[in-house]
């Protein structure tokens, strides 16, 4: 009996042990450490001084930084809206297309997604640069005389964010739309819906869980992302993401970077809680 218990404990350790160790070492520990650092301060050389205080959070409440947070939230919101506007029709048509077109459309969105995102951003930099593909093409066709500034503008940052986040919205939406029972749509038609009404009264309400899933997957990364703003915005666009990354690298202010990170984590937790609340209200 006792030995049996011990062996089952052993096998439990064997199976979930490595994973738990991994999670504790590389996820729980850094997480706790960041929270801890956010309550510390730094000396003039950028070294962390382990004395607990709220200095970093005080810095956070300075107008400049609140503005950055506010700007980031607005940007993430706009990106989410744009992504949804692009992803919804795509997912909708994919879910209703023939099996063959369906898998082509999904592969079409997944393959770029599997390519390292930095590589994709470099590709965008390449063809939006001053003498890149787009400018050369436009000049060659005689539409413009001088190369126009595309790279290093806010527009380029938006484009980059929307471009990299569309798959995150398409996938949950597609799986949600695809699960809608065709008989339910037929029932809607049968009871008098035209195509537009069917969409408004049946398809859209049934796709809301997919949108909610996608919202989190798009909004949170849009808020955190730093390399897109750096690479395509030329560092001119300051958002939380690159503000944090600069605190840890060039500015050498780890406590402030950590405090910013904690603030963003709290924000995204709130978003997820809201999303879960909405989803729970719509369970069926």
């Amino acid at each position: 009996m006792d030995s049996k218990k011990r062996s089952s404990l052993g096998s439990a350790l064997l199976t979930i042990g490595p994973m738990s160790l991994w999670t504790i070492l590389f996820f729980v520990f850094p997480f706790l450490y960041i929270i801890f650092v956010s309550f510390c301060s730094r000396d003039q050389f950028g070294n962390i001084v382990y004395s607990l205080n709220l200095g970093a959070y005080e810095t956070l409440t300075h107008g400049v930084y609140l503005q950055v947070i506010w700007k980031t939230l607005k940007m993430a919101a706009l990106v989410t809206v744009l992504v949804t506007l692009i992803a919804y029709p795509y997912a909708y048509f994919a879910s209703r297309a023939s099996k063959k077109v369906q898998s082509l459309m999904i592969i079409g969105i997944m393959v770029p997604f599997w390519i390292n995102s930095l590589l994709r951003i470099y590709a965008i930099m390449n063809f939006t640069s001053k003498y890149g593909l787009i400018n050369n093409l436009l000049m060659g066709m005689g539409i413009i005389k001088e190369p126009i500034q595309i790279l290093y503008t806010t527009g380029a940052v938006y484009f980059g964010l929307v471009y990299s986040l569309v798959p995150m919205m398409v996938m949950p939406l597609y799986s949600c739309l695809e699960k809608i029972d065709p008989a339910v749509l037929e029932a809607g038609r049968d009871l008098g819906c035209s195509s537009a009404v069917l969409f408004r009264k049946v398809i859209f309400p049934l796709s809301i869980p997919g949108i909610m899933g996608g919202l989190v997957l798009v909004f949170v990364p849009a808020m955190f992302n730093f390399y897109i703003a750096d690479a395509l915005g030329g560092g001119k666009t300051i958002i939380i993401g690159n503000l944090i990354s600069s605190q840890f690298s060039t500015a050498k202010n780890w406590p402030f970077g950590a405090a910013l990170s904690v603030a963003v984590m709290i924000l995204s937790t709130i978003i997820i809680i809201i999303k879960n609340k909405v989803e729970k209200a719509r369970t069926y």
Binding site: D190, L191, L206
Partner: protein, 366 residues
């Protein structure tokens, strides 16, 4: 035969549906009368559901015409047809409450709110789901969901209600109850019901008339009694109820009787309605309750009965009835149904003389 008002509600004229090379429905002609309960009965893949979907407007016929209440339905989408469908898997709107599910069609018609409420309340009372009105479909049982699906359609007062195996997902007891409920509903409301099922017992229980379909064709159309007593094809004979089929070929036919050679003994049938040529292959179709043991038939006479010898196999009790299974020397199975209190005493392998009335046998093409 048709006692109903002869008002044509649905008319199918040479309706065909092709899926690729295959004719799922093959040039069928059919009239459904106002207020009748008509059932399409057949095995899966016989075209019954496809026919129903064409009437509903979910499928377009490849050929032929469909009229609903005199109106040509060519290119009329489902939302503009005066029919409603009850689906096999209920197809309720999962995001709406029971009340909103039932009110769905009425809201689309932009009826005043008080009128919608009144109609929905009446319908909910009819299906006895008053206390569940604010629940979501996922909180209901299968039988309750099906009632909601029926109410959701009926509340629109369609000219025709189409039901596609609506009870298929329910357990036997509930199914039997719902059959009766459906029949009562239909009688009360006087709406034309077109029903699809593969369950012959269900079809016999609820229908005014039954359409037996097989491989895209109508095998027979008639009341339950007509089809049971005088099946017109071997398929119809086999599909409705149990039957004994004894094959042979036509020897002679005059205007009083038909002679059939069954394994070199001559059988006589007083059926002359269907005309045959000599050597046509036929089956003699005898219901198990019309097949008798010669030993236990007091008024047996060779003039009135066809007699053959069969080999006894076994007996099965089915409540107040007892079924005897035998086989002919040629290997055809024979079933005889008798009241259980009779004390026949045969053993496996006994040679037994059995007979059937020359009046009570039907000939069908083999």
């Amino acid at each position: 035969m048709e006692k109903k008002k002869a008002n044509k509600m649905i008319e199918l004229i040479s309706v065909t549906k092709k899926f690729g090379e295959m004719n799922a429905v093959n040039h069928i002609n059919l009239t459904v009368y106002e207020g009748e309960f008509l059932t399409f009965l057949g095995p899966s893949g016989c075209g019954k559901t496809t026919t129903l979907r064409m009437i509903a407007g979910f499928e377009d016929p490849s050929d032929g015409k469909i009229f609903i209440d005199g109106k040509d339905c060519d290119n009329v989408p489902p939302n503009l047809r005066d029919v409603n469908t009850v689906f096999q898997n209920y197809a309720l709107f999962p995001h709406l409450s029971i009340r909103d599910n039932i009110a769905f069609g009425l809201k689309l018609k932009k009826l005043p709110k008080e009128e919608i409420d009144k109609k929905v309340d009446k319908m909910v009372k009819l299906i006895k789901l008053e206390e569940h009105i604010n629940k979501k479909p996922s909180q209901l049982s299968g039988g309750q969901k099906q009632r909601v699906a029926i109410a959701r359609s009926l509340v629109n007062e369609p000219k025709v209600l189409l039901l596609d195996e609506p009870l298929g997902a329910l357990d036997l007891k509930l199914r039997k109850e719902m059959q009766i409920e459906l029949k009562h509903l239909q009688r009360e409301l006087g709406i034309t019901f077109v029903y699809v099922t593969h369950d012959q017992e269900e079809a016999l229980t609820i229908s005014d008339r039954i359409v037996i379909m097989n491989k895209g064709n109508i095998e027979q159309l008639g009341t339950a009694t007509e089809i049971y007593d005088t099946p017109r094809t071997k398929f119809a004979a086999n599909f409705i109820g149990e039957t004994n089929l004894i094959s042979g070929w036509i020897m002679e036919q005059d205007d009083q009787r038909t002679l059939i050679n069954v394994h070199n003994s001559i059988m006589e049938a007083f059926e002359v309605e269907k005309k045959y040529n000599v050597r046509d292959k036929v089956c003699i179709c005898v219901r198990p309750e019309n097949m008798h043991f010669v030993d236990y038939l007091p008024d047996y006479s060779e003039e009135r009965y066809n007699t053959i010898t069969a080999i006894y196999d076994e007996q099965i009790y089915i409540g107040n009835l007892r079924r005897h299974i035998l086989h002919t020397p040629e290997g055809e199975e024979i079933k005889i149904t008798r009241y259980a209190r009779k004390d026949e005493n045969y053993n496996r392998g006994d040679y037994v003389k059995i007979c059937w009335s020359k009046k009570r046998c039907i000939l069908v093409n083999d």
